[in-house]
């Protein structure tokens, strides 16, 4: 069944500027969906609308439950973890505290410790930096920390907003390999926004192309990747 379902979702900033004009979108359980499109097409806004960080209307359902009127923290507690653009670590806290914040709402202590270990295996670089202030980590480490923090809440849906932004190519590969391995190990669905279409299509099953706040094309990642017209028109060749 579908885990996340958006029907005719529109969204606007608090100053009134509308950014989404009726987005329809379905995310299947356990799949990776790539969200593509040009700058300003509404990719980030779609994620922010799901997390309740924009004023929004239409219908958003998560696991069959209407979430359109919920607050950001309530949505997060339902099992949606959002790693925003520019990482969104808690820069003044230690890396370990960041991870603890991720699991702050959980009561299953033993599982939390096990998940912590799994995160550190996923991103071995973090292990040495646990005591460091998050703001002092490198860009790549902060991105890893942000993803690990999201995982610590044991989400069912992970929203990743441009995880490769500003990272060195080598680090990007490292991050994406980790992301690709997530699905099997953590049993979750992923929606990933990415400028680099090839990178995203390479790991996704489904793909959605946005244009001017609406869905332009949706289909399997393979079909979109193989369609030259689509590549030409939306994905920069």
């Amino acid at each position: 069944m579908s885990l996340l379902e958006l029907r005719g979702v529109h969204a606007s900033y608090s100053d009134g500027g509308q950014v989404l004009h009726g987005v329809d979108l379905t995310v299947q359980e356990g799949g990776v969906t790539a969200l593509l499109g040009a700058n300003g097409a509404g990719k980030t806004s779609t994620l922010r609308a799901v997390s309740g960080m924009l004023r929004r209307g239409g219908s958003l359902r998560f696991d069959g439950r209407e979430i359109t009127s919920l607050r950001t923290d309530e949505i997060a507690r339902l099992g949606i973890a959002h790693v925003p653009q520019g990482r969104g670590t808690l820069t003044g806290l230690s890396a370990l505290d960041n991870l603890r914040v991720g699991s702050a709402r959980r009561r299953d202590r033993r599982e939390v410790e096990r998940d912590l270990e799994r995160c550190l295996n996923l991103f071995p670089r973090l292990r040495q930096r646990l005591g460091s202030t998050a703001g002092n980590l490198s860009g790549g480490e902060q991105q890893m920390l942000a993803i690990a923090r999201a995982l610590m809440s044991r989400p069912r849906l992970l929203l990743l907003d441009e995880p490769s932004l500003g990272l060195a190519p080598k680090i990007t590969v490292e991050v994406f390999e980790a992301i690709a391995g997530l699905r099997a190990e953590w049993s979750l669905a992923i929606v990933i926004v990415e400028q680099n279409a090839d990178l995203a299509l390479g790991m996704a099953q489904q793909a959605v192309v946005l244009e001017s706040g609406r869905v332009a094309i949706a289909g399997t990642a393979a079909a979109l990747a193989g369609n030259d017209d689509v590549r030409q028109a939306y994905l920069g060749g």
Partner: protein, 371 residues
């Protein structure tokens, strides 16, 4: 179609008419009313000057000050002391303006480098130092007893009672000072100040000498505080450390916001508010009025952030809008252009609506404070 056409907030002719009528009333009034009422109106004029000074600093330049009471106090004491020693009134006045202005400029040296919280924290302490200082210098200031001073008596040729004489003198001087302040913030200076208020960085990049502007405004505001102190002593003939209480500086800022920032009329409204609230409370202990001051301020902030003057202007504007709406609802040939122009004018610049709200900080994200 040009939505940028600015409708004058209140038509020019109406303004002039209002001022003329008000002047006429004010000239005739003291002949008819009791000495008590005359004193109250005189006090409004004196405080309007103090508040207009604060308006220059906080309203136009955006530099918060909770210490205007200290400068008021310096002016008041200067007046009282010089008058006791028989100095000419004009000299008293000049000193009551210049001395606080100088002190203000000195305070400004560190203050111009600060903004917001920091400036508020420094200025809130000024009255707390000023009061014990006034008590300490008792040889000069009469200590906690205060000073009674012979000033503001009506000359015999005028044929006026003392209260009437003080009324005319204080109102005339206050009107002149208010007019000067009104003119000072028009044009280039006004634009520079509004840029400093909204974005200091932008002001610097446009080549505005920000610190010099801020220092001059700080000195001017302090001078106005002192001049207000002169006018106060001129009609009350008494000053004591009580008159520069800790809460005074705060109350003045509150009154200013209630009256309306960046508005000359607002300063007068603010002074009326400041002077008449204790009367309305009708208690011997004027401290009780802080309840009203605080409550009204919070209500104004919540529901009419542009202050009373701003709200009145808004009503005036809406009156026109309402009329246009009525007109368009009739099948009369009212063009949508006209309506648009008026609708556009409701989103006028900050100077015009004088409110607190428009200068929102860029990010509502609290993480922005990390920068």
């Amino acid at each position: 179609m040009n939505a940028r056409i600015r409708q004058p907030t209140v038509p020019w002719l109406v303004r002039v008419a209002a001022v003329v009528v008000a002047l006429a009333v004010l000239v005739i009034l003291p002949q008819q009313s009791t000495p008590y009422d005359n004193l109250q109106i005189t006090l409004v004029a004196a405080w309007a000057v103090v508040i207009a000074g604060l308006n220059l600093l906080t309203g136009y330049a955006g530099q918060i000050s909770l210490g205007q009471a200290a400068f008021f106090g310096i002016g008041a004491y200067t007046t009282a002391i010089t008058a006791l020693h028989g100095w000419p009134v004009v000299l008293s006045f000049a000193l009551a303006f210049l001395l606080p202005a100088t002190v203000g400029a000195l305070v400004a040296i560190p203050a111009v480098r600060l903004r917001g919280h920091a400036l508020a924290m420094i200025t809130i302490s000024l009255p707390l130092v000023a009061v014990p200082l006034a008590k300490r210098l008792d040889g000069l200031t009469g200590g906690s007893q205060g000073l009674t001073t012979p000033i503001g008596s009506a000359p015999t040729w005028s044929g006026l009672a003392d209260d009437q004489w003080a009324y005319y003198v204080v109102l005339t001087v206050a009107a002149a000072l208010l007019a000067l302040a009104h003119v000072a913030v028009r044009g280039r200076t006004g634009r520079a100040l509004s840029l400093i208020r909204t974005s200091e960085v932008a002001a610097v990049t446009t080549g505005i000498p920000v610190r010099r502007y801020k220092m001059v405004v700080f000195a001017l505001a302090s001078g106005y505080g002192g001049a207000g102190g002169f006018l106060y002593v001129y009609c009350v003939r008494f000053v004591s450390p009580e008159s520069l209480d800790f809460l005074l500086g705060i109350t003045l800022l509150c009154s200013l916001v209630v009256g309306g920032l960046r508005s000359s009329a607002g300063s007068v409204v603010a002074a009326c508010f400041y002077v008449y609230v204790p009367n309305l409370v009708g208690d011997i202990n004027p401290e009780k009025s802080s309840l009203i001051y605080g409550a009204v301020l919070l209500l104004v902030l919540l529901f009419a952030p542009a202050g009373i003057a701003g709200a009145a202007r808004g009503l005036w504007r809406r009156r026109k809008l309402l009329a246009r709406k009525l007109a368009t609802s009739w099948p009369a040939p009212s063009t949508p252009t006209g309506y648009l122009a008026v609708a556009g004018s409701t989103e006028t610049s900050q100077e015009e609506n004088g409110g607190l709200t428009p200068t929102r900080s860029t990010a509502s994200n609290p993480s922005s404070k990390t920068r």
